[in-house]
Structure formats: C-alpha cells, structure tokens
C-alpha cells in the first residue's frame, strides 16, 4: 500500500500557498497597454495577405504606408505617411510620391523608394486574397516592372486608365499598402516566396510597434519602436490577449487586470456602465446589415413592391431591442464616416403605406423565401421581418443554412430574398458603390457573382454609369457629391433595403486616453495612447 500521508500533506500545502498567493494587481503598468480581444481570426501577419480585423489591428501599428489616416482625425482622410508629398500627371494615370527622409525600419535599414516599389510589386506578384484592392487598377505581375517604379527618392505608379486620385490613395491606406523592409524580408525568402512564409509570423516594418510574439488564439505582444518618426509611443508594450468570453473580459476589466475589453455583449456593457474607473466607448464600424430582393422574381421586381417592403421593416423596433448597442439605423450603402456618406433615412415601419403600394401593384397572397446564415442576430432580424411582412399579408419562409449553403444559392441568384451583412473591403466609397450600384452586364452568362447588384439580377437603372463616373472624378469634393446623388437614387429605386450599421462598444479603464479604434475605415492605433 502506498503511503498517502506525505503526498496528501504536500497537496494541502500546495493548495494553501495557492490560496494565499495574492498578486491582486490593481492596475496594469503605466507604460503597458493590455487589451482583451478575440484574435482567432488572425491567419497571417504578412500585409500582402492579411485581410481580417485582428490582423489589420496588428498591421496598422507595425507597417508604415505611403499615405495613412491620422488616428486622431479620421475625417480628414488620407494624409502623408512614408510619402511626404505626391504629384499627379496630366493624364491622371501616374502618381509620383516623394519619400520622407530619415525614416528607418525596425532593423535600422532606411526606408527608401526601393522598399516601397518592392512592397507594392510583391502584393501584385504574390496575388493573395486582398491583392484585388491594387490589381483593380490594372497592375499585373507582367507589367509591374513598368507600372510601379522607384527612381531615386521617388516612386511612380501608373494605372491602366484614369482613376480618381482619392480612389487610388484610399486603397493605399488599406493593410495591403504596408511597406516592408526589402532587405530583411529577402534574407528570409524560401523557394521564391518573397518572404511570405517568414512574414506570416514575423514583422519587418517601420511603424510604431513591432511584433514580439504571436501565439495563435492566445496573445499578440507588440513592443514599441523608440525611433518611430512621429515620436516614441508612450505605451512601450501592448499585449492583446485572446479572451473568448464576454463575461470573462468584463471581470478582468473590473479588476483592472486589463485596460480595454473589446468584445463585451450588451448585458455586460450595461453591467459596467457607471462602474467606477471604467468608461464605455461606442464606435461605428463598416459592416452593414441589409435585405435584398431578387429582381428575377416576377413580383419582387415591381417598383411598388420594392418600396412597400422597405416600409415593412421595423428598423426602430430592432435597433432598440435585440440590436441595442450593436447596430444603429443606417439606410445607405456607404457606411457613415466614409467619403460621400449621407445619413438620409426615409423609411420606417408603415404598414398602411405598404398596403396601399401593394394594392396599387395588384399583389395578393405573396409567399417568398428569405435565406439567412445561421447567426443569431441575423435569424432574429429575419423573424422580425417575417412578422412585419405578415402584417401586410405577405408570407415569409425563413431558410437558415451555413455560410456555404446560403451564399452558394445567393451567388447563383436562386434566393427570393437574402438577408445578410456586407463589410467594405478597403477605405474608399467605391468598395461598396462598386458592388451595390454597379452591374455592367446583368445577363446570367456574365456570372459576376462578386457584385451584389448582379446576385440580385438588378440592372441598376443607370447607377452603373454614375458609379463609373464617380470613380474617375479627380476632385475629392465633387466626387463626394456624386456618391451622395447615387445613394439618394439608390434609396428610391434599388431592391436593397440597407437597415443597420455596426457599432462596436468597448469597455476601457478611464485612465487610458486617445485610443482610436479606427471607425469604419481603418483599424486600431496604439501609438497615440497615453495613461
């Protein structure tokens, strides 16, 4: 028989020391920012490939770009970053950037026009998911040696035709525009991958921070770059911890073990509202929730029916109940804070008006199918929609499926009605205008599954031409006006009922100042943060 006594005694002793070890820390160190966030969407840290939220959060703080957004004034639009200035050629096709002098990468190498040339060419040649943001300007692996060219201290990029300068520059502020340290990256090249494998888990930038470690589903640790050209950041270390549970994030925040909790659900937000030492921030994000009507459907394609259905959505009821604090009413395809965004919201639940319109169209006993992905909030919206549509005598059948099933049918134009979300891909109005209001060939042979207008078999009633014109307009203010006009017409005639824009609510210890999450157009910035 084993003598259990000493082992038992040891176990009791260990438990006792555990219970008395009380490192109950009241707050995090003054030079350290600790954030709880869900980071399981990070697949790579390579700016030429990264296309997820948590990845963009890292990239924005690690890589400088030619032009960038000022975290403390996002509405000002793109500003000089690694490029100090730029000129546009007569024909509007070539932009020539003059590089800022005296900026260095984390390795100590100077940032040169050659690095910028390499970084942008690299994006085109690797052709990873987000590459379309740049290839839409006509860059191909074959022509980059002529279209993206460094010369001394300048870099010229030449597009295949004339585009609005603001369009090109907005696209360069996306993660994909990150400038990497050519020398360091090429030292780690394997089998001609231009350092893609190495950059997936390492960083070589010139930004305010570099990545010290990334443990998937566990944490990302950033350390500050004391030589950052805008000045050394106050936070010398930024630790982003992966905390899945909202309740756990809340506990950590209340205890002061973290500074910021980014995934609190509405219950936990109301739980910490008014708690001493904690503030709640609301920030608009780019994601939109919309309902769209397939124009191949004989009834749904009638103008009166389209309008009637926009009156059969309980926008306010949903915003104030189950979407409270998560979504706000927004009825246009450009998210608020985008260039050219407008805040017209003419529709609200009006059953009588809808009935009149349906009667005028001679519609009776309509039964339609709405396809929705298996996500709680979307299903709840579908149920609300089902109830309000029933008030006007329209029967709605909800089909819930996986992303693959529902998207598959949506892309094949098989759904009567689709209910889902759309997130902008890059910080320029064309990202949404080019899909909601642009459809040059509506035939089924065109197979333009990437365009939302095509998926709904909608010929856009002239908006395609207006959108094409807005993309090449050189003057930024005129261009913003044009998007306003497109959206007003879109509100009236489109088969899309855009309903909501995403809000992100964040819990923050109130000693943390100047934390900008990036709004709808960019990602979080840690360098201005102070405590």
């Amino acid at each position: 028989m084993i003598n259990l006594k000493p082992i038992l005694a040891g176990a009791v002793l260990a438990l006792a020391t555990g219970m008395t070890a009380l490192p109950a820390v009241a707050e995090t160190p003054a030079n350290m920012l600790v954030i709880a966030n869900r980071i399981d969407d990070i697949t790579t840290l390579d700016p030429a490939q990264s296309f997820e939220f948590a990845g963009s959060d890292v990239s924005r703080n690690v890589y400088g770009k030619l032009v960038n957004f000022d975290p403390l004034d996002l509405t000002a639009g793109y500003q000089p970053d690694l490029a100090e200035s730029w000129t546009v050629s007569e024909d509007g096709r070539t932009i020539t950037f003059t590089m800022r002098e005296g900026v260095t990468f984390h390795s100590g190498n100077p940032v040169t026009a050659a690095d910028a040339e390499y970084s942008l060419r690299r994006v085109i040649i690797l052709n990873k998911t987000p590459a379309f943001i740049l290839t839409q300007f006509g860059f191909t692996p074959e022509n980059v040696s002529k279209t993206i060219v460094a010369d001394g201290n300048t870099l010229s990029i030449t597009t295949d035709k004339r585009y609005a300068t603001s369009f090109v520059l907005n696209c360069l502020t996306a993660t994909i525009g990150g400038i990497v340290d050519m020398k360091t990256v090429m030292e780690h090249e394997v089998d001609g991958d231009m350092g893609n494998t190495w950059l997936a888990t390492n960083t070589a930038g010139s930004g305010a921070y570099s990545v010290q470690s990334w443990k998937p589903n566990e944490s990302v640790t950033l350390v500050s770059n004391p030589d950052f050209y805008l000045g050394a950041p106050a936070m010398e270390r930024v630790i982003v911890r992966h905390i899945q549970e909202s309740a756990t994030q809340r506990l950590l925040l209340e205890q002061g073990d973290i500074d910021v909790a980014r995934n609190l659900n509405p219950e936990d937000i109301s739980g910490i509202t008014g708690v001493d030492g904690v503030d709640v921030d609301s920030e608009l994000r780019g994601r939109l929730m919309y309902i769209s009507l397939n124009q191949a459907h004989p009834v749904l394609s009638k103008p009166e029916v389209r309008e009637a259905i926009k009156y059969l959505i309980d926008y306010e009821g949903m915003q104030d109940s189950f979407l409270r604090g998560q979504y706000t009413i927004h009825q246009n395809f450009l998210p608020a804070t985008y260039l050219g965004a407008i805040d017209d919201a003419p529709y609200s639940l009006n059953v009588d008006r809808a009935k009149e319109l349906l009667a005028a169209a001679g519609v009776e006993g309509l039964e339609i199918e709405v396809g929705v992905r298996e996500a709680q909030e979307r299903i709840e919206i579908a149920q609300s929609f089902q109830n309000t549509m029933a008030l006007a005598g329209i029967k709605v059948n909800i089909t819930v499926g996986t992303a693959k099933q529902i998207l598959g049918r949506y892309r094949a134009r098989e759904l009567d009605v689709y209910l889902g979300a759309w997130g902008p891909d890059y910080p320029d109005p064309h990202t949404n205008a080019g899909t909601f209001a642009y459809n040059p060939d509506n035939s089924s042979e065109a197979g333009a599954t990437g365009l939302l207008a095509w998926r709904n078999a909608w010929d856009t009633g002239g908006l395609t031409e207006m959108t094409a014109a807005a993309v090449v307009e050189g003057d930024r203010d005129v261009r913003a006006q044009m998007y306003g006009d497109i959206q007003r017409k879109f509100l009236e005639i489109s088969p899309f009922a855009v309903m909501f824009q995403k809000i992100e609510q964040t819990g923050r210890r109130n000693n943390v100042q100047n934390l900008g999450l990036g709004g709808a157009i960019t990602a979080v910035s840690y360098w201005p943060v102070t405590k």
Binding site: M1, L4, I7, L8, A11, A14, L15, T17, G18, M19, A21, L22, P23, V25, T28, P29, M32, V34, D40, I42, T43, T44, F51, E52, N127, K128, T129, A131, F132, T135, T197, A200, T201, S213, K215, P216, N217, E218, S219, T221, I239, R241, H242, I243, Q244, E245, A247, T248, L251, L252, E254, Q255, D257, T402, A403, K404, Q405, L407, D425, G450
Partner: protein, 319 residues
Amino acid sequence: MLGLLFITFIIGRVMPVDPVLSIVGESASKETYDAAYKAIGLDKPLIVQFATYIWDVITGDFGVSLLNARPVADDIKRVFPATLELATLGTLIGVFVGVPLGVIAAVKRGSWIDQIARVLALVGYSMPIFWLGLVSLLVFYGILGWVGGPGRVGIFYVDIVPEVTGMILVDSILDRNWEVFRDALSHIILPALLLGYYSLAYISRMTRSFMLEQLSSEYITTARVKGLSERAVIWRHALGNIKVQLITVIALSYAGLLEGSVLTEIIFAWPGIGSYITTALLSADMNAVMGGTVVVGLVFVCLNIFSDLLYKYFDPRAK
C-alpha cells in the same frame, strides 16, 4: 489509431464548411481561390490525400495549419502542456479528495458524511460547468480577490521562465523562480479545483460502490474476527483490493480531462487543446483537427498501457 484517423479524415471532407473559403475569404478572386485549393491538395483523389497524410504523420509531420500556416506540431506543443498541467492537477485533487470521501461514505453508510458526499457528487454531475466556472470566478477572483484571474499567468509573468516542458508550474520550479510559480499556481488553482470537483464526483461515487462490495465480503469479517484494527481492515485490506478497479476509473477520468474541457478553457481563457481543436474544427482547419485528434488518441493509448502496467504491479494474479 488508423481507424480513428480515417473517420476524422472522412468527417473533415464531408463537412459543409469550405476550407478554401475560410482561408481566402469571400472576396477572393477565382485565381486566388484555385491557387489555395491546389496548395492544400484538394484537387487530388481522396485516397491519395489520405495516404499522403498518414505517411506524413508517421514521419512526425502533422502538416501546417491551413489557417495560420504554422506547423501543427508546434501549435500542439504549445497547447497540450497547458491542458496536461490543468488535467493533472485536477485529477490529483479528484483522487486525493474523492477516494477518501468515497471510502468514508461507504464505511459510514447512511451517515451525514455519506449524505454530503452524495449531494456533492450529484451536484458535480448535474451542474453546468459553464455556470459554475463563471460564478466561482466572480466570487473568488472578482469579489474576494483570492486567486489570479483568467489566463495561465499574470501579464507581468508572461514569457519569463525559460520553456522546458511548457507546463509553467514545472518550468518555474526548474528555474527556481518562486514568484512565477506562485502566480501560476494562483491562476491554475480555480480551474483545477473546478475540474477536480467534477472528477471527484465520479471517483468518490465509484470508490463508494467498490468499497461497499468489499466490506460485505467474508474476508473482511475474517480480518475483523482476527482482531485487526478497523483502520487496517478498511484502508489496507478493503481499499487494497479495489486498487485495480480504481486505477481504471481514475485513468478514464484523467483521459477525459486530457481531451481538454472546452468550456473550462474558454471561461478561464486557458489556451489548451480542447479550445484548440474546437477553433480548428469551426474554421475547417483539418490539419489542426487531425493533429489534435492524433494526440488525444495517443494519450488514450498511453494511459491504457500505463494502467495495464499498474495492474500487473498491483495484482499478483496478472503477473
């Protein structure tokens, strides 16, 4: 093992999740999609894919995660020790509390101790671990501040001790860094107690019923008649005879914890193998799922062999 791999492989291939879509995202161009499709070998026949995989596993290569392009073996090396540490401590608590509790409950059948043990076990069986975890976190961390919060160590102690085993408690002892040890202990104690409680519930009930069977046997009466002390009768004779059965029970409960208890890991932000496999499964990262499954399978096999060895040691008949 081969059967296990085969089933996991097939399930992974028929799942209605598109691994390529989850890698490249919805807005990828056709060329990008096709390139990724080829890169992960989905264009080859199923049988070829399976054979390639088996060969790689035998040579110690679990492939790279489809999502984050890291070697799966590296990821598992990181997450498994976290689970091992937690499960071991949980099982120790389960054994050192559960076995004596079960014995006493059997000896004092019907007494208040027996009743308490019964209620404890019932609650342990039926209480959702998610709820219990959150409440205990709220009470002991949030209100009382007796223990460290979620995560393996406080942020001050991250990456301080050199990694040898990956188990922070062990590594800090090897490094003689008692501060880190105390902090790690204060973080692990709550989830370990929670898991310990669940395994205690099971172990104490099983111990009680094994003991009852023994206590009514004739050899026990004989021993008592011989004038042996009650203590010797119970703890040496009766308990000695159920050792082999107990080992099976403990090994099973240990193996259960080693699979990783997903909910506990999520609440306590514990980066273990349970949440690793779950995340991988949800994003259709089949290499990671298979890697995790192989490791869990191996653990079962090893524990089986180990308990067989223990039988031989304890049971003279098996020699």
